[in-house]
Each structure stands twice: as structure tokens, then as C-alpha cells.
Amino acid sequence: MTQPGHRGPMLDGNSMAGDLREIFAVDVTAARYMCAGCTHTDAVATLMVWHQSPGLVARCPNCDDVVIRVVRAPDRVYLDLRGSVRLEVPLEGS
């Protein structure tokens, strides 16, 4: 229905490192996601992140679907992972 859109202000998945570090004990930007929309898999750091919005919106570079949403309230962080089939987290020392 639409023509290809303009990307606008955007960062890569490394920009989520600080917020995700507060939730997880591991560096999630190094984990691999599998997109629920197209099953594309790659490092979280390769996601396209729209940050000038009410939260962080990380989209799959292959299909544009939303993979991760991070919403930050003053006293809590909401992490919405419904767009990710799984996260594959490398373990240190293995």
C-alpha cells in the first residue's frame, strides 16, 4: 500500500546496550535474535533502532518488523520481545 518510506533518525542495536544492561547480566547486543516476522537471524547489535519515540523500537533489517521494544518509566523498564522468536545468548567461557 505504501511506497518505500524514509528512514528518519535511526541508530543500530548497539544503542540499546545501556538499557538492556540494566535488565540482563549479559551483553544482549551480542546475542542473536530470530525475527518472528521473517525468521531472519543476526546479532541484536544489527537491529535498526528508532530512538526518537516514546521508547526504543528495534526493527529487523531484513523485513522492518518490530523485534524488540523498550519502554522506560521512571521506576521500571518494559521489554517487549514478541517480535523475537528467541534470543541466543553466548555464554562466557564456552
Binding site: 500500500m1 518505500p4 528512514r7 528518519g8 545501556g18 521508547g55 522492518d64 518494559y78
Partner: protein
């Protein structure tokens, strides 16, 4: 890295009397976006109201432009804490768009080109409280601000005023949209500071 800088929420500024709690005044018009900006050709634009029984009423751009329009001047309040006073819009009232629609639904889901959604109770769309706006400040609404047309529902936080709107689904039960499912408030009244779930 923390580039989100406390989600705009930490931008403590002096509150202005007459603004909802926690808001600060801005004179520009910040662009917030959760994804690529859709470019919608007017010959492919369509706005569709779908009832809870599946009945559809829709308008193409030409038909939509032929509907009676209203000029409104309203204050808008973004959940990221900026407020803009006296913004001027032209659009079609939801009272007009829903006038011929038979429905007993109490809730709606607003849909946009690009996949964005937001939930709004039916009563918040009626009685002169909401418009599908296609002009801002006398000019055609720019794509960055939701053009060709966006919802305008100024009494709720501005994430409810969906950009690039293309339809409304009428629903018997309330369901969360894009931001509501990710932690934002189901209703979003700025005067009660309903920013996040539980507020």
C-alpha cells in the same frame, strides 16, 4: 551507552501553569517516530471503518476531501513531556465518519499505514473530540507529522493521535495497541498523568 537518556523523562523543566502535570512548553513541533515514515500516494490512500461484525465503510482521498471539514485550534501533549499550545488543524470529525456506522462497540483500534496501532474508547472519538486531520497550520500535513492524514485526539497523550491513519476497527472489548502493549497506559489522560501502565 544510555542514549535514550531516561526516555526524555529526565528532562526536568519548569512546569508552566495551565499545562498538564509534568509537561513543558515547546514552540516547535518535535517529530517522534517508531519506524520508517510511510509515503502514501493519494491515489492509493483509503480510510476504512470496520465494525465488530465486519461491515466496512471506506473513503478514498477524493471522497474524504468531499466530506465536511472543520478548522480546530487545540493544545497537544506528548507523553515525552512536551506540550504545544494553540496548534491549528483542519480535518474531518469522527462524528461525521462514524455517523452512518451501525455499531454497539465501546472500544476501537486505530490502524495506520506502516502497521502502527493504538486503542481508543469509542466515546473519546465522538462529540467533537477527535478528527482525521489533513492540514496543519494551514498547510498539507507533512509525512513526518503523519500526512496525508493523521488522527487528532488532543485530550489524550499524542501517541493516541496516530500518524498515517488508514482505518478504525470497532471492538466490543478493549485491547492494547503498539505502545500500550509495550508498557504505556491503556487510556493516556495527560491531566491525570497516565503515562505508563499502573499510573
Amino acid at each position: 551507552m544510555g542514549i535514550i537518556s531516561r526516555g526524555f523523562g529526565g528532562r526536568r523543566r519548569e512546569s508552566v501553569p495551565g499545562l498538564p502535570p509534568g509537561q513543558y512548553l515547546t514552540h516547535d513541533f518535535p517529530v517522534l517516530s517508531a519506524g520508517p515514515t510511510p509515503r502514501v500516494p493519494l491515489d492509493r490512500w483509503r480510510f476504512t471503518v470496520t465494525t465488530e461484525t465486519g461491515d466496512r465503510t471506506s473513503w478514498n482521498w477524493t471522497e474524504f476531501q468531499a466530506l465536511p471539514a472543520e478548522d480546530v485550534t487545540v493544545d497537544i501533549h506528548c507523553v515525552t513531556k512536551w506540550s504545544k499550545l494553540g496548534s491549528t488543524w483542519r480535518g474531518v470529525s469522527l462524528d461525521t465518519l462514524l455517523a452512518g456506522v451501525e455499531s454497539a462497540a465501546d472500544y476501537t483500534m486505530v490502524h495506520s499505514f506502516g502497521g502502527y496501532t493504538t486503542n481508543v474508547p469509542m466515546e473519546d472519538l465522538l462529540d467533537g473530540k477527535a478528527w482525521v486531520a489533513y492540514k496543519f497550520d494551514g498547510e498539507d500535513l507533512e509525512p513526518e507529522h503523519g500526512g496525508p492524514a493523521r488522527l487528532l485526539i488532543p485530550h489524550l497523550y499524542f501517541w493516541k493521535s496516530a500518524k498515517w491513519v488508514n482505518g478504525i476497527q470497532l471492538m466490543p472489548e478493549d485491547e492494547p495497541g503498539f505502545w500500550e502493549a509495550a508498557g504505556y497506559h491503556m487510556y493516556g489522560d495527560p491531566w491525570r498523568e497516565q503515562r505508563y501502565q499502573g499510573d
